[in-house]
């Protein structure tokens, strides 16, 4: 059911150190409740924070930084309380906002080094590091031009550079590929993956689920201020245990006969018509594939594929919003 915590995270957090812990967090803005009893364990690695607009993602990020005072509940970042130790937390956090937030009149070097100094770097360190990070994100000589002359992709890269200039342990990326062309998105995702090798927790908030699926190894799905699903990506995408996907092709009569015969052998969980002469069925209980193939031969249909159920993140996302999906999965 939507709004209920689907317990899948416990197994993962035991093997990977937990970095951000939210416990029963509630935040409201007047009559609008942005977070409503949000509880999640976010482990180290690249974590996707997913949810529709207004789900509470940005509010959670702000509350984690100590910028918002929750009505109730606690958030711990790296073992520090988000309210009592917000400044210490912000020293180890890098934040790349979704919105356009760069000072337009300055150039990238000045902006990134300035943000480095505000994060506690000396002028010399900040200047050296800003050049390193601008090299890392792929901003060349254009770093000396005012930011208002940059393309959207370049601005995204500068936003990333300012977020990592002080080498944060936790990186919050809000829609990092927003407004970028396909090549730019590839570069950005590649940068995110590279950074993950340096023992960082990277929380990626994005609407583009294919990107999250590609780069993240953990996902947290929020809706209406509550956690509705979380877990390691491989577990989320694995599908339900014992369920197999079978795609068959043939004429309508043969297909109907085959499905009826199949129902005698195993449980049909879901049936999807794919254009009249091809259907995909999800079946449970047919561990012996030979019987499936034998029935296909007997009924004159072709088996186009037969494999354990695999999901994509979009399906996981939709199922989570449908209220736990098929049989609560």
């Amino acid at each position: 059911m939507a709004g209920e915590l689907v317990a899948e995270q416990g197994t993962d957090t035991s093997t990977r150190p937990v970095n951000v812990l939210a416990r029963d967090v509630a935040v409201s803005f007047g009559s609008v409740t942005a977070l409503n009893g949000f509880t999640a364990d976010i482990p180290r690695g690249i974590v996707g924070l997913l949810g529709p607009n207004g789900a509470g993602k940005s509010t959670f990020i702000k509350a984690s930084l100590g910028l918002l005072v929750p009505d109730r509940g606690t958030i711990s970042v790296g073992g520090m309380d988000s309210q009592a130790q917000s400044l210490q937390i912000r020293d180890i956090v890098g934040y790349m906002p979704e919105s356009d937030c760069l000072i337009p009149s300055v150039n990238a070097v000045d902006l990134v080094s300035y943000m480095g100094m505000i994060s506690g770097m000396t002028f010399r360190d900040a200047m050296q590091r800003s050049h390193e990070m601008l090299d890392f994100v792929g901003i060349g000589e254009e770093r000396y031009r005012p930011i208002n002359s940059y393309s959207t992709g370049m601005k995204q890269k500068v936003k990333l550079a300012q977020a990592i200039v002080h080498d944060p342990k936790l990186l919050l990326l809000d829609e990092p590929t927003s407004g970028m062309d396909p090549q730019g998105r590839e570069e950005m995702l590649s940068l995110v993956k590279k950074m993950a090798t340096s023992e960082k927790t990277i929380i990626v908030s994005s609407h583009i689920l294919q990107e999250v699926e590609r780069v993240c190894d953990y996902a947290v799905i929020i809706d209406s201020g509550k956690l509705i699903r979380s877990g390691a990506m491989k577990n989320l995408l694995a599908g339900e245990e014992g369920v197999r996907s079978l795609t068959i092709r043939g004429n309508l009569t043969s297909l109907s006969q085959y499905v009826r015969a199949l129902e005698q052998e195993c449980q049909i969980v879901e049936k999807r018509d794919e254009g009249g002469e091809q259907i995909t069925v999800l079946i449970r209980g047919c561990d012996d594939g030979r019987r499936v193939f034998k029935l296909a031969v007997e009924n004159g249909v072709q088996v186009r594929s037969f494999h354990p159920e695999r999901l994509d993140l979009e399906e996981v996302f939709l199922r989570a919003f449908r209220g736990g999906g098929r049989d609560g999965h």
């Binding site: 702000k62 910028l67 919105s99 356009d100 506690g120």
Partner: protein, 273 residues
């Protein structure tokens, strides 16, 4: 990404204390403002018309000691306050409005920076610029006057020099909080600059209208009230129609209320709640 992409490398340096980061902002403001043509022109005109003229006079005219009344006449004439008002309007105009319009407040406050440190950084930067017109030149002029005095009463002159420094400091501080407050109300620096200057100008006009009925209304004119303050600090007396408490209340309210308002407004903007 180039032929040979650069890998991510951790930073191994030591962080500075969190309390020192406001000075990073102050230094940035100072650097930025000292490159601004508008600020440089105002500084130049102010120094030329207010301070340099008096400096020439004081060097040329023989004087026995540094007189408080002379300094009062030099600073309290209105030109000094008007230039200070103009400079404050220009200096503070974009300090917050630019961060609001570019949304860059989020970059500041996602770091270990409190609203009060951010404001302190901006204010210190603005005060340093203001001091170039309001604090340093009067002290310099008074020092020159003392150095060229014919008499030997240096103790008295030193007292006047100290009072001059105090007056300079007060004017330096006076306009900045109000300018910051107006800057936080708008996204356009031109609106902030005009808004700051016009607010003081309107107060002066209102004071002028009501002075027709009672001279004590002159207290609500920033130019008059600062002039009264100079007389009070330098010579120890006020015109009979000026109420001391009203003067202090007016001047203090123009510093404290805007400072509180801008702090609360920014806190609300940052927290969004």
């Amino acid at each position: 990404m180039g032929i040979n992409p650069i890998e991510y490398r951790p930073w191994k340096g030591e962080r500075t204390a969190q309390g020192l980061r406001r000075y990073v902002i102050a230094r940035s403001v100072l650097r930025h403002k000292l490159k601004s043509i508008g600020v440089l022109v105002l500084l130049l005109l102010g120094i030329l018309f207010v301070h340099a003229t008096y400096l020439v006079l004081i060097v040329l005219i023989p004087h026995e000691r540094l007189e408080a009344s002379e300094i009062d006449a030099y600073l309290g004439g209105g030109a000094f306050t008007t230039f200070a008002m103009l400079l404050a309007a220009v200096v503070t105009s974009d300090l917050i409005s630019e961060d609001v319009s570019s949304n860059s407040l989020v970059l500041y406050f996602s770091r270990a920076l409190k609203v009060r440190d951010y404001l302190a950084g901006k204010a210190i930067g603005a005060l340093l610029i203001m001091s170039l017109l309001c604090a340093i030149p009067p002290v310099f002029v008074a020092t020159v006057a003392m150095a060229t005095q014919s008499g030997g009463d240096y103790l008295y002159s030193l007292g006047v020099l100290g009072k001059t420094a105090l007056v300079g400091a007060l004017v330096t501080v006076f306009f900045v909080p109000f300018g910051l407050m107006i800057s936080s109300f708008t996204r356009r620096k031109s609106y902030a600059a005009v808004g700051t200057f016009m607010s003081f100008f309107v107060l002066a006009v209102v004071a002028g209208v009501f002075m027709e009925y009672a001279r004590s209304w002159s207290v609500i004119s920033p130019i008059h009230s600062l002039s009264f303050l100079f007389s009070w600090v330098l010579e120890g007396d006020l015109p009979s129609y000026v109420d001391e408490a009203a003067l202090v209340l007016f001047l203090a309210s123009l510093i404290i209320v805007p400072a509180v308002v801008v702090y609360l407004k920014l806190t609300r903007t940052v927290v969004g709640k």
